[in-house]
């Protein structure tokens, strides 16, 4: 029959035998690879620090941990958490069967361990396989998520943008109005309609019409502030939302600049095809739905057109709350 110490040496590469004086008398073949060299002859508690369940400072304290699983670490490698089963060797000494637990991944990297450093029955290598496989699969998933997220952002932007002019579209306006409705921010709505645009489209063709619309968008970008929302509602109809801007004088100045920019004869590059713009303005008031403000800007726009086009009007209570009232 094989001797017990020999049996221990062949089966448990990570064991330590401690004599009754507290000195290490034998260690498994892999222990020496853990950075502290050959431990035989050294005092166990000088090489290791036992952390749980108690912190024994001598052999008597250590012996009281028999048959328990303890947490310990090398004093020279404080980052490597180990655990061990403590066994009484029945002749005054102790045997510790050590394992890395979940720290096996970092231990293998730190000390360059190989499959032979573990007991044949140990699942350490399977754990390492799984860890690597998981990292590889996670990397692939992460990759996919990154690409999908990029596509989602692009699709979201596209869904809120007018393809021709690059301005926002009606859907973006709805979202912005909803957010404004929930906030305390005052804002102005400018509803702008191009004058004589239909003539340009009919006489110079749709391609020229499209170019003109793009140039109108450029004029709008040049005249507005960065956080104003510029929307093409469709056709030759535009809406500008100006958060925080309610001053009548400044709104009048903005409208004049827009109308004069749009009316620039070089915009269409041909004589006789000059367009213009009419603008209706409404300003938010507490307790009113954003949709009501939009309606008021619409009414004011109609008033501007009736006043002879090429001008702006700010909504006033005498204009009423619907287009039919205005006509009456």
């Amino acid at each position: 029959m094989i001797g017990s110490l020999e049996l221990l040496a062949s089966l448990r590469p990570l064991h330590i035998c401690i004599g009754k004086t507290g000195h290490i008398t034998q260690s498994g073949r892999s222990i020496a690879k853990l950075g502290s060299g050959n431990l035989v002859g050294q005092r166990f508690l000088e090489v290791f620090e036992v952390q749980r369940p108690s912190r024994p400072s001598d052999m008597t304290g250590l012996r009281q941990l028999s048959d328990q699983v303890i947490r310990l670490r090398f004093r020279a490698e404080p980052d490597l958490a180990l655990r061990a089963l403590v066994l009484d060797d029945r002749s005054g000494g102790l045997i510790l069967d050590i394992s890395f637990g979940i720290a096996v991944v970092s231990a293998v990297r730190r000390f360059g361990l190989t499959a032979k450093d573990f007991a044949a029955s140990d699942l350490a290598v399977e754990l390492l396989f799984l860890q690597e496989a998981k990292s590889t699969a996670m990397a692939a998933s992460f990759n996919l998520n990154t690409r999908l997220n990029g596509a989602r952002l692009a699709a979201e932007t596209e869904a809120l943008t007018d393809g021709l002019t690059g301005l926002h579209n009606r859907r973006a306006l709805d979202g912005a109005l909803m957010r404004l409705g929930q906030s305390e921010t005052d804002f102005a709505v400018l509803h702008m309609d191009l004058d004589r645009f239909k003539t340009v489209n009919d006489t110079l063709g749709h391609a020229t019409g499209d170019t003109v619309l793009k140039q109108v968008a450029d004029v709008m970008r040049a005249q507005t502030r960065q956080n104003d929302l510029l929307v093409r509602m469709g056709g030759d109809e535009f809406v500008i939302i100006c958060p925080g801007l309610t001053d009548h004088l400044r709104l009048a100045g903005l409208s004049d600049a827009l109308i004069s920019g749009v009316s620039d004869p070089t915009l269409t590059e041909r004589q006789g095809a000059q367009i213009g713009a009419s603008i209706g303005i409404a300003i938010s008031a507490s307790g009113l739905e954003p949709a009501t403000i939009i309606d008021r800007a619409d009414i004011a726009l109609y008033a501007a057109k009736r006043a002879g086009r090429g001008c702006h009007r700010v909504w006033t209570p005498d204009m009423g709350t619907s287009l039919s009232e205005l006509d009456a």
Binding site: R109, T114, F129, E132, S135, T136
Partner: protein, 199 residues
């Protein structure tokens, strides 16, 4: 069917022949997916359509293409992690062969939903192996031949591998090991993992 299978075919065609070839394969196959994602599921019927389109566009048989894909997975730098995962199977090429029974199980551990055929390995005569692959996807035996040929190289082993066709329900591979010390082993250490997983 798992996206990794399609993604691998796409990567193989793109890396070995260029993305123009892949576009042509897609058009010829009539498959309505221009680019496959590794971590999504796809219609199993796409596999057959893609492989036959590959065979026509690349002007070689499907068997050869599948073998090349196996070799590509082990040798291409982009898939260093696959080589490593395979090398977990054993310290030597014969040990690896004996671990192949576990390959479908290991693969499932790595990527659940990626199902490989059942693999049975026998060594009736010393250094003469017979490997049976039972179950879908059909043609996996050819991929395995390419994979093992590249791995024999990796271990520095001289071996002769032949796909001998179908017998009953199984694809049968015969392996004859000539010399396990034929060339230098490219090496494998557990602790290299950190670099490999960055790929």
């Amino acid at each position: 069917m798992h996206g990794l299978i399609f993604r691998t075919i796409q990567a193989f065609v793109t890396d070995s022949f260029g993305s123009d070839y892949w576009s042509r394969v897609i058009v010829r196959s009539g498959v309505d997916v221009p680019s496959f994602e590794a971590m999504l599921q796809y219609e199993p019927a796409h596999l057959c359509a893609l492989l036959s389109a590959c065979a026509e566009e690349l002007d070689r048989s499907q068997d050869v293409i599948l073998e090349d894909i196996g070799a590509y997975l082990i040798t291409h730098q982009k898939h260093a992690s696959i080589r490593r995962l395979m090398r977990f199977g054993g310290d030597s090429f014969p040990e690896l062969l004996h671990s192949l029974d576990e390959l479908p199980g290991r693969t499932r551990l790595a990527v659940s939903g990626l199902d490989l055929p059942q693999i049975r390995v026998r060594e009736p005569i010393l250094h003469q192996y017979t490997i049976d692959c039972v179950g879908p996807p059909a043609g996996f035996g050819h991929v395995l031949v390419g994979l093992l040929r590249a791995l024999a190289d990796d271990y520095g082993t001289l071996a002769v591998l032949t796909h001998v066709g179908r017998r009953d329900e199984a694809e049968v591979i015969e392996v004859s090991i000539v010399d396990t010390g034929f060339a230098e082993d490219r090496g494998f250490s557990l602790s290299d993992a950190a670099e490999a997983t960055v790929q």
